[in-house]
């Protein structure tokens, strides 16, 4: 196992009477993409800001490359916040160059422009670019110092599917350069595609941690059989598996799809609009937290 780039030891963060982060222990090895998932108000952003040094933890210890964070931490990390504007009246290129000049160690400008697909908007006013372009610029700014550790706070929130995939490609490329990425996201598909490890957070605590695959296996891999339309309740109660009636459909949770199909056929239920799928992270998330992600 590689040496951890970041270690959190029993981190607690209180805001007057509210405990936003409650005893988090974490070790992130270098070169991976770590995803922090959780419903709104779970404490993700607070934890992020504690790690970044914006907030001071109430207690606990944070080690970067085995040592407490010092001045070089800011020189060696890159941060993309959820909501950030840039100083006005600067072009994209000037914005990028200005932030790059704030660091001793600078990433190659052409590399940043190329990696984040900024070639076509370099001379454009940073206030007149689209949401996807702004996210790419924010990412380029986060990479301006060629950081070893990159924090991305919901980098694709509000982007169209094409822009999201664009950003995923950039994150994959960053990872391929042996950089460590820590991201928060609301999109489970994003976490499943990008993250080597994830932690699901709720009420300030980690309630599950591991690789997406491990999490799905350890949390009882279930299949979902979905019947569109309505079915008589008297028939459904005879099923040996749990089921739920949801907005115009019935969901049956089973780990034996074949048996379930057989029984449904025996019950003479119309299967012309049936679908079956494996449990994914989103299902697991709802199961663990009891909350819809994009509520």
């Amino acid at each position: 196992m590689k040496r951890p780039i970041l270690e959190l030891k029993n981190i607690i963060k209180d805001f007057s009477k509210v405990r936003a982060v409650d005893g988090i222990d974490l070790s992130i090895e270098s070169g991976i993409c770590f995803g922090l998932l959780g419903p709104n108000g779970a404490g993700k952003t607070t934890l992020f800001e504690v790690i970044e040094g914006i907030l001071t933890p109430t207690s606990g210890q944070i080690l970067y490359k085995g040592k407490p964070r010092k001045r070089r931490f800011k020189e060696e990390v890159g941060v993309q916040f959820q909501h950030t504007e840039f100083p006005h009246f600067l072009t994209v290129k000037e914005t990028l160059m200005s932030f790059r000049n704030l660091y001793k160690h600078k990433a190659d400008l052409d590399y940043l422009i190329e990696t984040c697909y900024l070639q076509d908007i370099l001379d454009r006013d940073n206030r007149k670019i689209s949401g996807g372009q702004k996210q790419r610029l924010l990412l380029a700014v986060a990479l301006a110092n060629d950081p070893d550790l990159i924090f991305l706070d919901e980098p694709t929130t509000g982007l169209d599917p094409q822009s999201r995939r664009h950003l995923w490609e950039i994150v994959k490329q960053i990872k391929s350069n042996n950089k460590t990425v820590i991201l928060t996201t609301h999109y489970m598909d994003e976490a499943q595609i990008l993250c080597d490890k994830i932690a699901i957070m709720d009420l300030g605590k980690f309630i599950a941690e591991g690789s997406p695959k491990e999490l799905l296996i350890t949390n009882n891999k279930t299949n979902f059989i979905v019947l569109e339309g309505d079915v008589d309740k008297d028939i459904l109660v005879k099923l040996p598996w749990p089921w739920k009636r949801l907005r115009g459909r019935i969901e049956i949770y089973t780990n034996s799809v074949n048996d379930c199909m057989k029984i449904l056929l025996e019950m003479d239920i119309d299967l012309s609009r049936i679908s079956a799928r494996a449990q994914n992270l989103e299902d697991l998330f709802i199961k663990l937290t009891g909350k819809e992600l994009r509520a």
Partner: protein, 343 residues
């Protein structure tokens, strides 16, 4: 360190000079005030207006033939009226200070009018020939028009608004929209950011003040009787102090509305009590005392002494010391209170 300060300095300068509205306003505003006031006050103004009523049979005005000693008094504007009603109407509405009809040896004065009272005394004095016993001495001083007197005040006032609002609002906006938070994640130190903001604002305001100054010199022939270098030193100190005050006000707030309220609360009394528009001579002593807590008062007074009276730095050392102390206090407290992000 210097590279970061230079980068932040350039960032802020570009933001300013590319914002055409802000740029034009900073230069046009003082110009417009000077032009307007010069148009209003460009004629020599007499101190009193006295109406003279008399219709002589041959149709000529009373002013044409009555060589009354009083009517030769300097600095009184004598206005001729053909009817007593017309004169009384003007007097009643304080459009004139005094009304006289030499033919009938009558005069009218509006009781609440202080100027009317003075003119009455002048009229009485013009009929006496007594020696006062005082010896008359003459001095000659260069006449300074109101606009020339106003000019340093307008420059200083523009400096104040640009410093307080230019720095205060921008930092609050930076904090509100996350620019400060982002900058704080770079290895930018608080003092580097503050120095860059001060230098950038000083550079911008000094440049626009110099443009306005020389523009007015060319247009109206205003002269600085003292050293231009001394004037630059005083304006730089005043600017530094006012920008530091702006930083102090913006040290924590992330609400533009709140910061705007505080800035107005400070800038408006400061403008009125710093003798920008009128002298506080004769005001209550406590008003004059309170006015000294404002850096603008020291900047206005010191720059007037240099421009109008030709004073050197030694003669305005009190103002210079006050500005240095205020700058130090504002900047120290402002740096201590400064927060990169919303609290």
């Amino acid at each position: 360190m210097s590279q970061r300060i230079w980068t932040l300095f350039l960032m802020r300068n570009k933001e300013f000079y590319r914002d055409k509205g802000s740029l034009m306003w900073n230069i046009l505003f003082p110009f417009l005030i000077i032009v307007s006031f010069n148009m209003i006050f460009n004629n020599d103004q007499n101190l009193y207006k006295v109406g003279v009523v008399d219709t002589i049979n041959d149709g000529t005005s009373a002013l044409d033939n009555k060589p009354v000693f009083f009517l030769e008094t300097k600095f009184i504007d004598f206005v001729s009226f053909h009817s007593i009603e017309e004169g009384l109407d003007k007097l009643k509405h304080h459009r004139i200070d005094f009304l006289i009809r030499p033919a009938s040896k009558q005069y009218w004065v509006n009781t609440p009018s202080p100027k009317g009272y003075i003119v009455e005394k002048l009229l009485a004095a013009s009929f006496t020939n007594k020696q006062s016993g005082f010896e008359k001495q003459l001095i000659v001083g260069k006449k300074i028009s109101y606009t020339e007197w106003l000019f340093p005040g307008i420059l200083a006032m523009n400096t104040m608004f640009s410093s307080l609002f230019g720095v205060g609002y921008v930092i609050v906006r930076y904090r509100k929209n996350g620019v400060l938070k982002r900058l704080s994640m770079a290895p930018t130190k608080t003092y580097e950011f503050l120095i860059a903001q001060i230098l950038s604002r000083m550079f911008i305001i000094l440049l626009s003040t110099i443009i306005v100054y020389f523009g007015c010199v060319v247009l109206y022939g205003f002269k600085c009787n003292g050293s231009l270098l001394n004037l630059l030193v005083v304006f730089s100190l005043g600017l530094f102090s006012l920008i530091s005050l702006g930083l102090l006000i913006a040290a924590r707030s992330s609400s533009e509305e709140f910061a705007g309220g505080i800035l107005n609360l400070i800038s408006l009394p400061m403008m009125f009590l710093s003798e920008v528009w009128f002298s506080l001579e004769g005001a209550n002593p406590w008003v004059i005392y309170v006015s000294k807590i404002f850096p603008l008062a020291h900047l206005v007074d010191a720059s007037r002494k240099i421009m109008n009276d030709g004073a050197g730095l030694a003669e305005i050392k009190y103002h210079i010391t006050a500005l240095i102390i205020m700058s130090f206090l504002f900047l120290t407290i402002g740096s201590f209170l400064f927060r990169w992000q919303k609290t």
